[in-house]
Symmetry: C2
Subunit: 627 residues, 2 copies
């Protein structure tokens, strides 16, 4: 809204300019000069106001008000129409549309800030809530495990705009731009690749990053074998891994896992997968659950651990009877596999510490350590030359402090030959993945024959926005890693003697202990920003299941229990206790969360405040106790 101006004629110029950009412009006469006599000034001003608001004249002010009204009405109409239009045009990932009952099953996200979505508010009947159109909803899955510093973080937005304005996207083969170079150097020299990696290969998501990793490992293995395998033998090269692994949705990444409900017609499981021992807390006691196939070696199907810090002191546990049992079990299984003519193994592929999509399975880190050691055999000193099989760490979910540590190599005490990072890499803003490789893997592709190069690359490989946002994210995480919130959380997880623990969590240890004692909870577990609650499967008895719509359906039972729907509503719906909440604006908020089979998980950003986390803990505690 401008004052009319005969000299500069801004209105005339800007009308066209803004019209092209869809912005409404109105020009109104300037107010009369200020008169020294108050009454005259008042009369003159009143007359002016009457003139610009009179419905007899052009009524500029009225047109502005009408415009704003119509904008507001349009916005409300659009919000209201979105569920219907969505159900008519969108094919969601991992959603059975046949189970979507109607518009009330569509969450309309109007915006998002920090850890909260702003969603259109609905009461239990699905009707819009009359008292408020929008309300906050806690993003308890960190938007599929991507959120790092909260939604719409201004530093990441500025980084994206900076790279977009300077480069757009520029092609990458035999070229370089600063954001990509800095990111590669940071990851190799002072990040997850520190001490073992020499090269960074960029792609677009965890799945493509893993396909690149698999291509690297298969070639490296093949070259080491003297490249004498026939094509049919190459096709059948297998992966050694763990049951419950998940490395992404593309068909090649899927072939590195067992067959399951999520595999497609072309799926061809190539490899052998161990049943792993897992870590969990029940009744305040940390346990390692030993699978049946392994129990014969360990002479127990449950090992009681003193504390989490003991479990994750991998080096300290290497000489225990359990480590020897693991080694014997692995050796025997591999020998048996060979004897019965199983697949020729070409790579060991692990999700270190936690298998995320497979059900938030916290694997005993000692088992993974022993597995790597067994596969590699003796390595000469500190060489990073791979032996036995090339080892791939899929750190897409677990890496970059999601579990409280930048990378899992230092904790496990063994480093991979190839690793993959994505998700947190770009702070939860845009897709980007990186596959890191050791010099020895890189050299398997080196020759003077172009056909032997790694012939993989997506159009937007190493896109500048992704790389710049990743650099900014890593820099923000550096600051967080020395923040008071993190230091306080780490202190709360210290050993009884006050020494730092190798692992810690943003979730409160007393809260974990408390919920682990509830009868409805089979097991609880946490590392970093992740909280997993495995619930008792009481399908046949009194119902309790924290299950909504599962990211992946595995072979869990009780998946469609009605009781889950009941419990879902109590967490999803904004709690109205009359107090200001920890959400922006203090409004009551619902909690969005997702489940994997009988496991409900909750995830924070890396900078979620302790106030917000405490309030989520309270809500979970109350909900669990009210069932």
């Amino acid at each position: 809204m401008l004052f009319h101006d005969d000299y500069y004629k801004n209105g005339e110029y800007l009308e066209k300019y803004f019209a092209e950009r869809g912005v409404f412009l109105a020009t109104v006469d300037a107010p009369p000069p200020k008169l020294s006599e108050p009454w005259e000034d008042f009369t003159s001003t009143e007359k002016y106001y009457e003139a610009i608001t009179s419905s007899d004249g052009p009524d500029v002010v009225g047109s502005v008000v009408n415009h704003l009204d119509s904008c507001h009405i349009k916005r409300l109409e659009e919000l209201e129409s979105m569920p219907r239009r969505t159900l008519g045009s969108i094919w969601w990932p991992f959603v059975q549309h046949g189970l979507v009952k109607g518009e009330k099953d569509v969450t309309v996200i109007d915006s998002a800030y920090s850890d909260f979505f702003s969603i259109t508010n609905k009461d239990a009947s699905g009707e819009s809530n009359e008292t408020s159109i929008l309300s906050p909803q806690y993003d308890g899955s960190a938007s599929w495990w991507t959120q790092t510093v909260g939604h719409a973080h201004p530093s990441l937005t500025l980084a994206a705009a900076r790279a977009s304005g300077r480069y757009g996207h520029v092609m990458f083969p035999q070229a370089i731009h600063l954001p990509a170079l800095k990111l590669a150097e940071r990851l190799i020299q002072n990040g997850p690749g520190k001490g073992w990696a020499s090269r960074a290969f960029f792609s677009d998501n965890g799945s493509t990053g893993m396909e690149v990793a698999l291509k690297m490992a298969l070639r490296a293995f093949n070259v080491r074998q003297g490249d004498h395998l026939k094509n049919e033998e190459k096709k059948d090269l297998g992966i050694l891994g763990l049951k419950g692994s998940y490395h992404g949705d593309t068909i090649g990444a899927m072939d590195a896992c067992e067959e399951g409900v999520y595999t497609c017609e072309w799926h061809n499981a190539k490899g052998y997968w161990f049943d792993p021992p897992t870590v969990g807390i029940k009744d305040g006691q940390v346990n390692i659950s030993i699978p049946a196939s392994l129990a014969a070696f360990s002479q127990s199907n449950n090992v009681r651990a003193g504390s989490l810090s003991w479990v994750y002191d991998v080096e300290g546990r290497l000489q225990t009877p359990l480590a020897r049992a693991y080694a014997l079990y692995i050796t025997r299984a591999l020998e048996a596999l060979k004897q019965r003519g199983g697949p020729k193994l070409a790579a060991l592929v692990l999700e270190p510490l936690v298998m995320g999509a497979g059900g938030m399975l916290f694997v005993d880190p000692l088992f993974q350590r022993v597995l790597v050691d067994t596969v590699r055999g003796r390595r000469s000193g500190s060489s990073t030359k791979w032996s036995g099989l090339p080892v791939i760490y899929d750190e897409v979910f677990v890496g970059l402090h999601r579990l409280g540590m930048e990378s899992t190599g230092p904790l496990l005490g063994v480093y991979p030959d190839i690793s993959v990072n994505a998700k947190v890499l770009t702070g939860g803003l845009i897709p980007l993945a990186v596959t890191l490789a050791s010099q020895f893997i890189f050299e398997a592709f080196l020759s003077d024959n172009k056909a032997e190069a790694l012939l993989h690359g997506h159009s937007y490989t190493a896109h500048a926005i992704g790389c710049e946002v990743a650099n900014e994210t890593l820099s923000l995480i550096d600051k967080l890693s020395v923040s008071e919130d993190w230091l306080a959380a780490q202190a709360s997880w210290a050993k009884p003697d006050g020494q730092p623990s190798p692992v810690w969590s943003l979730w409160d240890p007393n809260f974990i202990t408390a919920i682990s004692k509830l009868r409805q909870v089979k097991e609880a577990m946490t590392l970093g920003s992740v909280l997993a609650i495995k619930v008792q499967d009481t399908t046949a008895g009194k119902t309790f299941l924290l299950v909504v719509t599962s990211f992946l359906i595995l072979s869990f039972t009780g998946y469609t229990s009605q009781s889950a729907q009941t419990l879902l509503q109590s967490l999803n719906i904004a709690s109205q206790d009359g107090q200001l909440s920890s959400a922006p604006g203090g409004a009551p908020f619902g909690i969005h969360f997702r489940t994997l089979g009988d496991v409900a998980y909750f995830m924070t950003s890396l900078n979620t405040t302790s106030t917000v986390i405490r309030s989520i803990e309270d809500r979970i505690w109350t909900t669990l106790n009210s069932t």
Copy 2:
């Protein structure tokens, strides 16, 4: 640089603020009051200047100058160090690092704007050019076929920042945000899906988009067959396609193509691929080259066409003997495949009009039309229910006006059941892909069983930045499609009678005719923004090969010819003719271009000005004539 201010103390506040952001701040005393006596004022001012620049005092001005100098030196040092650091950390896509001879083989891109990179300048010896540190380089591959409105377009940057600031990324299953909804609706109702598609499924790049398409087709086929296939039979379901197809780098997308040098150990070619007839111009004459296997039916291995507009009038050619020959050839081949127990075919997968990565092969559109018709058999009226096999159009490269038309369905006269778009979709800024599907494909996944849903989805599915940038891109293209540049180009390609041609190009028809008459040119061809020049393979004779580093190495010969290196330099190096160039700033510019075997291709953005295109044509003409 601030004036010292005791009252507001801005300097004190801002020093900390800017230090956190890496910005240098200096505070200098304010100038003395202006004196009425000129001489006194002069003396007072002189004294002030001396005080703030004296090396005896704090020398604030000196520190600012020093800071600027050191910034500049650091910037130059960084630019100079980038090739070395790149060779020590980056693993490039599609590059044989063993053939990279040293730092001079690294293109350092300092920034990019419109159609030009700004690269560090090097003379032929690889040493930095003393006269200028940076020079423009025309992005002649449109950065792997992505550039749409030029690098760093402000509207796209604003769109990216807008979505980032409002949403960041928000999770997508059972949720919706406006950028994704608008994009889905636009693509389905008024875009490539118009008239046949009902659903949009988002993923991250063309390759993942095609994996989604394959999963859709395989399931739809399987369900239609009554879902009685055994697992082993499902694994072996095959794709019907054309030789030279390329659908992306992930292993599943690769399995829909024949084996080649770019396939990895796990590659398993599933299907049958026809040798297609192709379109090209030689000596000003448009020809259709018929492959040997087809020539027996067409009774000719070369069909002379009156014009490009005749070739692409698919409907008008349906009753020609060639169409009948195509149909007979296809039918016989499919019968023979069945008789010899070939793979059970589950989908027809085509790159309509042009197979890009396979060598810029311009396929006779009539062949693709007849192939679709033959596979589908009779369809009842205007039904969009698939028959025969589900048909997938891979429009990742050809779609969204890259070839001058939004989608290829209207030209071919037949629409797919599934299609994929990417690349141009986001205007050349960030990765995003969309797989469109008909209602009948969608319904093959509908049930009350979650295990039967399409269980595919990447972390950043339908990320808000990608969708918002895509919406902005499509809106910019809408404006371009009625621009004077496009109307003029379309007029230049009109039929002799002045009627519009079904196809057109931003390249000049007279230029195409002229280069097609050169002895060094085996064939030229153009559609939309794409120019392809197939060169005579004279490896044994006098050398000419427009080959640099190939995106893909196919089975072409002469790939490593030395003469290619010679010719490369003449186009890559900035031409110094003393005139202002069409690059920003008018500096002399080099031309970056890429090749596919014996085909050199040049690509413009959709808004590249005719001035720039004419200057590129001149440079190509001069280079071709100087060999």
